[in-house]
Amino acid sequence: MYKLKVNKKYYNVDASADMPLLWVLRDLIGLTGTKFGCGMAQCGACTVHLNGEAVRSCVTLVSRAVGKEITTIEGLSANSTHPLQVAWLQEDTPQCGYCQSGQIMSAAVLLRENPNPTDQDIDNAMSGNICRCGTYPRIRKAIHLAAQLQKKGGTK
């Protein structure tokens, strides 16, 4: 039994020590916004925050998450008000949408660490997240737009 803090709420989960956080979140807690894409940290669809750092939850053991603040797409903001979510909608970014939770969670760390990312910074931070629909040009625009929004309104 592990006690986890996800999106500011506590959960007791009956998981084996080798169970990846992804499946704890999805199958035990029922937070399905975090997606399974590859199971080996290749595609980034499962990206969540562990104490504010982006991790691939498909290879992060549940034991490593104990005592840490876990944030998933569901906990990124109330009512989709994070500047990235606002910018994502403004640019009509998602297509099939399956990878987008992971994209936004990766971008959120980039934007917090680097409020003025260049195209090169975006390449460096976002190349671990695959989008098969090819929404990359819009993701890039949305990150730049979110940087502007963040300056104007601050993060919420």
């Binding site: 894409g37 590859c38 290749q42 009509d92 297509q95 460096n124 929404t135 040009p137």
Partner: protein
């Protein structure tokens, strides 16, 4: 929205309108195309004809738009809704969108069966969805006039209200009355000059749910009592289970059952992780079957040998042998293309809740009607005993439209064998190794050119498996020629002015299952044609753009796309040192797309694509930003094909397993993309696939 007004299904069938708490508008597809469906798979129309329609207006004013096509990223959630809204004057805040269940009313207006594919949704539904909106509006106006005691001619509609002078009534209030009125035989659609949405567009209606994690995909289905199933498949393609020992797997925590199904052994557990660990603990002896020696190198050799022979004619005009013999110069070329996996981001999965006489299925599918029939066949059920709820598709690209319903059938077998409610989840490796690939192809050609370097004789042989043979679309194979294997070559505009031409096709039968893939035959034919045209231009010492213009002089839509792309890309203007431009133009899915790519080649030989300028003539662009998004998407899909993309076999086994061995273009490889839409009043075409073919050759 649950109150039922005085009617029943029988009346509904007669009147053509239903009310399940409101107004429902439905249209039947003309009977003709139904014959495309395999007998026995055709659902009984009366039995499945419950809430089948495109539009449902509740007494609370909620407007449910019901999509005959599925959302897999291409934006149809928004575009079809726009078509209804264009005629209905609805309150946007009250519109809800949902996928249709399987049902005859949702048959494709061209293909008959219920399918999302061929980049055809927008143009095939352009009239039907507008009519659905216009019919509903007319009924609501009649109802409003009746209620307010005014003449229908004095009524207008706006924002979900029928208005007559100072009087007004909401659509919600009027839905019940409207449902009792006879459906007008004919409605007048609005003129283009009156359009508010068409040609202008609207933000994606599915985007809000896709930025906060609430969008539901097949993978996200959960309900009490649902278990997860993971399947062990034969490592050798087409192998079968000889025997297995499940004792260790069954002893694993969380594992609930292990069952054998056709093609493998399924482990059923409380959750995915337990099922996956259970699968790893299985001891299975496989019968490798007949294909244990199958390998890509031998396949390629065989294909090359076949390509040297004539093949069945897809195009035969003049006398190509003689003409080649007389040509001042003959250019020969050979191309080969590997199998490709669709690799949608959401691996295949399917949830099945099977009870004694009812089977409920949740999945992301492009072919719900076919899947319903296939599931029923496994269970010995009638199709109407099987319900399918189509959730968002985490990518499709053709893979979620298998004529055999492969992953749905597998899930139903697990449910049947175990008696449990299961969500079958394929791992990425399962997904990548499960077949249904874009077929491998070889092209070989001999082109005789005149003294100016323009083609005068063209001999072209294509070798590759048929995707249509043995499927419900078998009529696409005529006299042994699968149209999808030769599309883009035999009908290429470059062939038009060549007097002597022969396009031959060999369709070898191989164990590997093959399937349509975003832009289908054009994935390889577009590449071959545009690359060879570049070679011919180079050998003629001509500019690739000018050479194409000369060949395409009688093809105005090709030219308009080509010229616009060239102009916007600044073709021929100076570029940064080490940068080059390439150009391509190709017609597919009734649309004409030209792309100019600006590339450089690094010291390591790696090609970097800096910018792609794209122009499309798709006729009327109903949702222009949606068209642009599909061009961006298609270009990056094409880039992945050009730079990476190969499924190969050795000893009957697929050698690629996951994204580290099957690469997909990433953010750092994504070029700047600049899309322009030709202002066109020509026939409408598709947008979902046509951006793919020119990307690689450009």
């Amino acid at each position: 929205m649950t109150n039922i007004i005085n009617t029943n299904r029988r009346q509904f069938l007669k009147s053509g309108a239903i009310l399940s708490g409101g107004l429902l508008i439905s249209f039947m597809v003309p009977a003709g195309p139904k014959k495309l469906m395999e007998p026995g798979l055709l659902p009984d129309p009366e039995a499945t004809f419950s809430p089948n329609a495109f539009l449902r207006i509740g007494n609370d004013g909620t407007i449910n738009v019901i999509l005959a096509h599925v959302e897999m990223g291409q934006g149809i959630w928004t575009t079809l809704t726009m078509l209804i809204a264009e005629e209905l004057d609805a309150d946007w805040k009250k519109i809800k969108v949902e996928h249709a269940p399987p049902g005859q009313a949702y048959g494709h207006t061209g293909f008959g069966i219920q399918i999302t594919g061929g980049s055809s949704t927008t143009y095939s539904e352009f009239d039907r969805y507008r009519q659905a909106g216009a019919t509903a509006r007319e009924l609501l106006v009649s109802a409003g006039a009746k209620k307010m005691g005014v003449n229908p001619a004095d009524c207008t509609t706006k924002n979900g209200m029928v208005i007559a002078g100072a009087k007004k009534a909401s659509y919600g209030e009027l839905a019940a009355i409207a449902a009792t009125l006879p459906v007008p035989a004919k409605v007048t659609l609005r003129q283009a000059s009156e359009w508010k949405y068409i040609g202008k567009g609207l933000k994606r209606l599915d985007a809000p749910a896709k930025v906060n994690g609430t969008a539901k995909f097949g993978m996200d289905i959960q309900f009490p009592g649902l278990l997860t199933a993971v399947v062990a498949h034969s490592p050798v393609y087409g192998g079968k289970v000889k025997s297995f020992d499940a004792s260790a797997a069954k002893a694993m925590p969380g594992v609930k059952d292990v069952v054998e199904i056709p093609g493998g052994v399924a482990v059923i557990a409380d959750h995915f992780w337990a099922a996956k660990k259970g699968r790893a603990a299985l001891k299975i002896e496989w019968d490798n079957g007949d294909h244990a020696a199958f390998n890509s190198a031998t396949q390629l050799e065989n294909y090359m040998a076949l390509a040297a022979t004539k093949g069945l004619p897809a195009l035969d005009k003049g006398n190509v042998e003689t003409a080649l013999g007389q040509a001042p110069k003959v250019i020969e070329a050979e191309y080969s293309f590997p199998y490709l996996a669709h690799a949608a981001m959401e691996p295949m999965n399917c949830t099945v809740k099977l009870t004694k006489d009812k089977c409920q299925i949740w999945t992301g599918t492009q072919l719900p009607g076919i899947d319903q029939g296939a599931a029923a066949k496994v269970l010995g059920f009638k199709p109407e005993q099987v319900s399918i709820e189509t959730v968002f598709l985490g990518g499709g690209f053709g893979r979620r439209a298998t004529p055999t319903s492969d992953f749905i059938v597998e899930a139903v077998h697990i449910a049947k064998a175990s008696g449990k409610f299961i969500k079958m989840v394929w791992t990425r490796e399962d997904d990548m190794n499960a077949g249904y690939y874009r077929a491998a192809f070889v092209h070989r050609m001999k082109i005789g050119v005149d003294s100016n370097g323009y083609p005068l004789a063209w001999q072209h042989t294509i070798v590759g498996q048929s995707i249509f043979e043995g499927t419900f679309l078998e009529m696409m194979v005529q006299k042994g020629v699968d149209a999808s294997s030769v599309e883009g070559v035999s009908d290429s505009p470059y062939m038009t002015d060549v007097k002597d031409a022969y396009v031959g096709l060999h369709s070898p039968k191989l164990p590997v299952t093959v399937l349509w893939y975003r832009s289908v035959g054009h994935t390889h034919t577009g590449y071959v044609m545009e690359t060879i045209i570049d070679d011919l231009a180079t050998q003629a010492g001509k500019d690739p753009l000018g050479y194409r213009r000369a060949l395409l002089k009688n093809h105005p839509r090709h030219l308009s796309a080509l010229n616009l792309a060239a102009e916007k890309a600044g073709w021929g203007k100076p570029l940064p040192a080490g940068h080059f431009q390439g150009i391509a133009v190709h017609e597919s899915f009734l649309s004409y797309v030209a792309e100019v790519a600006e590339v450089s080649i690094g010291n390591d030989g790696h090609v970097k694509v800096h910018k792609v300028t794209c122009a499309i003539d798709c006729g009327l662009a109903v949702n222009p930003d949606g068209v642009k998004a599909q061009m961006e998407s298609g270009i990056i899909f094409g880039l992945t094909m050009a730079l990476y993309g190969e499924i190969s076999f050795d000893k009957g086994q697929v050698q690629q397993t996951n994204f580290h061995t099957y690469h997909i273009a990433r953010m750092n490889e994504s070029p700047v993309i600049d899309v322009h839409i030709v202002n066109s009043t020509e026939k409408m075409g598709g947008a979902g696939e046509c951006g793919v073919p020119p990307a690689a050759p450009a």
